[in-house]
Symmetry: C2
Subunit: 351 residues, 2 copies
């Protein structure tokens, strides 16, 4: 059976502003100092897959082509006319695969997670591939929690062993609940990584999300015809927005989870940059041309100019081309408010 990698890379990535912009979202940034996030995601899958796909937003396609050149074929970059959440994204990729390349196993991953231990990740992925190959299983990867995170969804598992049965998907918990989850040993973080056959997931769409399935069939029927682009542009923007978790996973029985620990981090915002870079002795993350004096627990990110900072604690300073951004590290979720304000004020040059 052919194995297809599918990287979901459609995010706008406002939370890393001003580094991330509309045309260069997080997945097109080199946050680790090694490679663009999209290419790190691709490199982790290349050895395990026969074909690799990226699903991204129309506005990012040309930058994406440039970024993944040599790794992913241009024809394997799927363009979403607009963002319709993960169910539409995965359904579109499944339809593309089954109509153009033949049924096979899909390994679906986000483009914006960091994985420190790639070897351990590959081992976990191989087990998940084996579990997904047999029968019509829906398989997900669970991350063994290392702290009581309140920012992630959880999965409650049953039993022991390398592959377990999912009992329940849980929303982001409060701290007390997260502590209970951590201590019980029965919970893993929801990684957003899934494995299943294209035919299996499309049958799930047909049963659980029939309206979306109907739209996907319209698109699939136009594939390999001159009308393909036109139909996608017409149909896709009206597909119902729903996540694969909510639309399919939470409503399905017999989902399997492969728990693993491979140094995974959801690099969602500036305060997570410390997962990708060694901190200095004062617990600062310093990238580029920076001069911290009596600075602690902070993030200084310079793309070119000198950032000189003194007597600060818990502050993020990021400079990129035409912008300087300053924000407390424990308030980085508010960076989105800056982007919202720039939108309101029609200061598009900075978006």
């Amino acid at each position: 059976m052919k194995i297809y990698g599918v990287i979901m890379a459609g995010g706008g990535g406002t939370r890393f502003w001003p580094l991330s912009r509309q045309k260069t979202p997080k997945q097109l940034l080199n946050l680790s100092g090694n490679e663009l996030m999209i290419n790190e995601a691709a490199d982790r899958l290349l050895a395990l897959t026969d074909e690799l796909f990226v699903v991204t937003n129309k506005t990012q396609v040309s930058a994406m082509k440039e970024a993944v050149k040599g790794r992913i074929d241009e024809t394997h970059i799927l363009s979403e006319p607009s963002a319709r959440n993960t169910a539409a994204c995965i359904g579109y990729a499944a339809m593309e695969i089954i109509r153009k390349y033949g049924d096979g196993l899909m390994i679906i991953t986000p483009s914006d997670a960091y994985i420190r231990n790639e070897k351990a990740f590959t081992e976990v992925l191989k087990k998940a591939v084996d579990a997904a190959k047999s029968g019509d299983n829906l398989v997900t990867i669970g991350i063994e929690p290392t702290f009581p995170a309140t920012g992630y969804g959880y999965i409650r598992m049953e039993g022991e062993g390398e592959v377990r049965k999912v009992l329940q998907f849980k929303e982001k918990p409060d701290l007390e609940t997260a502590m209970e989850y951590l201590l019980s040993g029965d919970y893993v973080w929801n990684s957003g990584m899934f494995l299943w056959k294209a035919s299996t997931i499309l049958r799930k769409f047909e049963t659980l999300l029939p309206d979306i399935y109907a739209d996907l069939v319209k698109i699939g029927d136009a594939m390999n015809t001159p009308e393909e682009r036109k139909v996608i542009d017409e149909v896709y923007p009206s597909i119902r927005k729903i996540s694969i978790d909510y639309g399919i996973m939470e409503k399905s029985e017999n989902i399997l989870v492969v728990p693993g620990e491979f140094g995974w981090s959801d690099v969602a915002s500036w305060d997570m940059l410390g997962k990708l870079h060694d901190e200095d002795e004062n617990h600062n993350v310093c990238v580029g041309n920076v001069l911290p004096i009596s600075v602690t627990n902070s993030v200084l990110y310079s793309s070119s100019r000198l950032i000189a900072a003194i007597d600060l604690d818990n502050i993020v300073v990021a400079e990129m081309n035409d912008v300087v951004m300053v924000c407390p590290k424990d308030k980085v979720q508010d960076v989105k408010k800056i982007v919202d304000t720039l939108n309101e004020k029609k200061m598009e040059d900075y978006l």
Copy 2:
């Protein structure tokens, strides 16, 4: 009697880094949004004086010439080979005046104070001119305190009226003492502005600072000869460093002070920028291309790029060409440490 204005403009101005640099110190900056500080100082004196002089550091002469063009004649820009504190600076100017232009009244001011009410200042200055014209008086301008400042020196006065006798010069006090000074009504801030005849102050040098006087005479004797520049370059750098306050004022009897209130601020550091600009409703000073969101009691100074700041209190963010500086507003005296560190690390480009 001729009246000569003398603006002391030799400072390095590290406290406004990164706006102020070695070659563009504070006096060559436009901090108010109206004019360069040196030109604001010049414009305040032009109407009252017959000739206007600037004493500055050799390294700043060419920038100074450019800055004051049309206001101050090139020949009236006196070049100090190195900074030797205010006694040397004033002695040099007095010698220049008496040997080249003839004895007269000197009005000496720093270049880096801000004066909001220029009309009131002119009135005070006129009274001081009258007081200095008669006899061999040493006259200083005192600023009526508006708050218990601990960052300024004070002058204790005797009596009533527009011109009073100085009882004592006081160092920067602690807060309790400053409160007492403020309540007593007998104290004014030391403005660093002085009025006296060139001949009078040179006689004071002869009596109280004979070593410096001897050096000044060497320089004076070379004036109007081809050796003038050479002698200044040889003699000046070895003149003893002492302030006019400590070397002459504190050791003299019968000093007069003219108290005045004309919206004077010593614009010494970033936290003082609010004296020159209206604060917004959150007590922020915002200059240039800045976007504050939930920011209070802060200073955002952009010379070109956007500074976007969110959830900050009591922070200074300044960006200028190749540098971004971030520092708490109540720690702005530490900006000097950044400059010191850049010096140590030989990062001269940023100085």
